[in-house]
Amino acid sequence: MSGKHGHKPFEGHMHDFEAHIRAVEEDLEYYRAKRFEPRIFYLIRRGVVTFSDLLNARVALKRSNQFFKPRKPQGKNIEARVRYLEEWLDEYVKGIALVSARAVEAMDMVTEDNRKERGDYDDFFKFKKKEHKGTLKQRMVSLEQDLTDYQELLEVFVQALIKRGWSTRRELEQSWKQLHEEHPWAGGVIVAKAWTDPAFKQALLTTGREALREMGVHQGKVGKLVVVENTDTIHNVVVCTLCSCYPYDILGDTPWWYKHESYRTNIVQNPRACVQEMFQLEIPASKELKVWDSTSDVRYFVLPQRPAGTEGMSEEELAKLVTVDSLIGAGYALEPSQQKKAMKLRAAPESPRVRPD
């Protein structure tokens, strides 16, 4: 399961380097071609910045002014280098959030604008994604170069925004700090409470976001929240066949495969085969499989079944059994024995990011 948790910094040992590198490649191109570069074009078209601004900012850019300072690899071994790439990608994604419309004053941009700009409705506007070839080592070298280049453009873009007065260095530094704050992962907290508190579960399933209000977790703001419950007779899976809609404002980012075309196509064509092949998940014939395609203003997540052998566990312990995959329906919540084994393998859950779908 190591490769399915996106690019999150990894704790413990890695077993499948190729899966990790592939996740970084997929996510990096996704964020560049779907999130960042369309945004530059959007703002250039509206005169918020110009190409000349970018050129001038590039000339004036000093190392000391840069926001992004990825740590150097701790060793020369392959694992340390993979980890380094994952952390670097994470910084790049946070950097994109830093210059997202809502974070920068006076830029009135909604998600819909980004969808238009990046070609969701018109192939003419699509940004081509780079293909990755070669040996694992070559791909890692190539990723380091891409991250260097993409990060520089992002840095230049930030400086140009400051120069043009769309934001101040102080504001951005404040946001940058907030983006790096650690929060307990809401997914585990919400599910564990639903497993132990029937009244809360009922409220969560019937009122969605309203039920989160008193919990002290980030309530989110994007659309209506619908929570679908897995039972002995129903297994739910979530997808957005059009892009990658998901309640990220509550649960944080999705794994790279959620955004990938193969998942978005196959899950509505042959769902059982899709979850079997991609996640080695065999859904018993006795269960109906429901796929929820989030195409508009509803955001879905799955309430997984409480695993066997968890009687008497505290909410805090239960929360650790909840994986990102299980909230999408691509996995079950972990059994306690699996969790102990996975402790050293699993990525630390992420805090929500501030950025549009």
Binding site: V222, K224, D293, T295
Partner: protein, 90 residues
């Protein structure tokens, strides 16, 4: 804006609707389903500026929208202008 359909109503998705909500996926166009959830008009100011027509989650048999014959279902969010009512027995 009042919702035209209620849970359980049989509906068919329009094949083309160039002026409506743009994100109705192709694989359900022209397909028959049943209203599963009624959401009404939702405001989502971070996503879009305008107000869309009432929203429903429509349940489709998997076999209606794909070539797969498993007894499973696909639930898709569809706005009202894309939906036409059909008689249950037709």
């Amino acid at each position: 804006m009042e919702s035209k359909f209620k849970v359980g109503d049989a509906v068919i998705v329009a094949s083309e609707n160039p002026t409506g909500y743009p994100r109705t996926p192709r694989y359900i166009r022209g397909k028959r389903g049943v209203i599963g959830l009624v959401h009404g008009v939702l405001e989502n100011i971070r996503d879009h500026r305008g107000i869309h027509k009432p929203l429903y989650t429509v349940r489709f048999d998997l076999s209606e929208v794909s070539t797969c014959h498993d007894q499973d279902s696909i639930w898709v969010d569809v706005h009202e202008e894309w939906l036409n009512g059909v008689r249950q027995d037709s």
